[in-house]
Symmetry: C2
Subunit: 324 residues, 2 copies
Amino acid sequence: MLPIAVDAEGGDLAPGEIVAGAAQAAAELGVPVVLVGRPEVVTETHGLELIPCTEVIDMHEEGARAVRRKKDSSLVVAAELVRDGKAAAMVSAGNTGATVASALLRFGRISGVSRPAIATPIPVPGSTPTVLLDAGANADVQPAWLVQFAQMGSAFATTRYGIERPRVGLLNIGEEDTKGNELAKEAHALLKGTPGIHFIGNVEGRDVLSDEVDVVVTDGFTGNVTLKTLEGAMRFLSGKVFEALVSSEEAKKASEVLLPMLLPLAEELDPESTGGAMALGLDGVCIISHGSSKAKAIVNAVKNGCDLYNADIVKRLAEAVAAG
Amino acid sequence: MLPIAVDAEGGDLAPGEIVAGAAQAAAELGVPVVLVGRPEVVTETHGLELIPCTEVIDMHEEGARAVRRKKDSSLVVAAELVRDGKAAAMVSAGNTGATVASALLRFGRISGVSRPAIATPIPVPGSTPTVLLDAGANADVQPAWLVQFAQMGSAFATTRYGIERPRVGLLNIGEEDTKGNELAKEAHALLKGTPGIHFIGNVEGRDVLSDEVDVVVTDGFTGNVTLKTLEGAMRFLSGKVFEALVSSEEAKKASEVLLPMLLPLAEELDPESTGGAMALGLDGVCIISHGSSKAKAIVNAVKNGCDLYNADIVKRLAEAVAAG
């Protein structure tokens, strides 16, 4: 099969952890992987092929502008490998805006799609993840775009998690149909009248972590704030709990009993385990791993990109949007 | 001093827990309290005076419309007691939209204030709470309103928590000045040019629980989603931890050591402890307690309403807005 193109220069821990993860994926999963990066920076490749480039887009550059200026950056070269049929998917833990922009400008959109959206799986222990979109590609949206997010998010949930008829909720500030800002009210009415999706109505921030909904649609501003709030709350509270567990010799002893129960939960909630987010609506597979990705996150992202490519995700997304 | 008017019919646990909390506040804090409710429903008053009304606004009614239609509802009568100088503050755990609407329509706005905003304190263990506003009064806002939210939020943080020069952050999806949706970008520019507030720039969802910021301003849609996401995440994770603590005899024994460390944290994060939110920008004190308030939440809300009235919060808010 085609290799997965990994941006060796994207992420807080690049290139070390990124290359290590890519190599581990190749060795353990048997998935072919190529790296993209500057040879003078990515000096250790663990035997993987390095597609050379001369530039890198850093975390604080504005996405679309950076992609237009840095035509030989690792992100743009990775996107071109996918566009040219030389890679099955691209994976990056770098600048999210630039990752989406490079994929958008090089792959192009699926016919009929207004805007790409970032679909981020939120782990729900004991159940399939909740797919949240848009998690940040479009800060300002139009109501009709949310309908496409719902269609694409449903196809993604079915393809990735095998959920037959994913329940779609609109992120809002109350359950009643009439609640919300103008965007949410208009989107609610449109979603209600869209065939082919299983719209269950408004959901609230607390429902994202529940098994009551499979796909949560919202604008990229609210989605991104929600995601970071969730991550912050989880990190805060788990930090406090683990602080208590090591606060004294007595506590440490007690924690020997409790840790085996808490660690599987921490593992399930760990963003390293989700396989990353996907930019939906583009004519190719683009996997976005979180900025602080370690090797494990890259292994899972490579696997995820490979699985989604093999499941013909782009075709399924195109069908979902065309059916609406 | 003037009594605090408690809506005996507002909240999931009304009237039982509400009246119990009001009575406890009167007894333990020495604060005069009057109840407002239908005599046939509020049959047990624990010796408190009951101001009778004939109607109640339920949780699912649209706020402003309900206030216009139900002129003899407990919320409207409570608001009129404040307006007429017969009560220092109103407290309700009922329909939030209707609570703000009754206060808005009966008290009126502070001169120069465009819109009232709900200021909700988010507990930050080991530090003063972060004041989040707007937590839900205005689903759609204009950038200039956020400037007033910043001014009022600052005055509130100073009055309530003694923070001398509160750090104000704009809730956004990145730290850079140019990030965000159109609203956030315009609000950022306006906040930067506003004298009298200590604007520290953009903050993200994860910062709300930190001690890096004192006042977080946003529109009422994003604010409400953020608040409910936080509450949901906290409830989810603490539920899982306490589940582990009682999962076996061995775990229960271990938890005897750990609970004394975790319970103070749970107590600090408990929404029953915050004293409730306040609707800022109105010509009177209106305290909003959460829907599932028990007696303890009402005790704290009564105390909070009393303290804010005594600190002349309305005058301080008016000065903050006039100074801008």
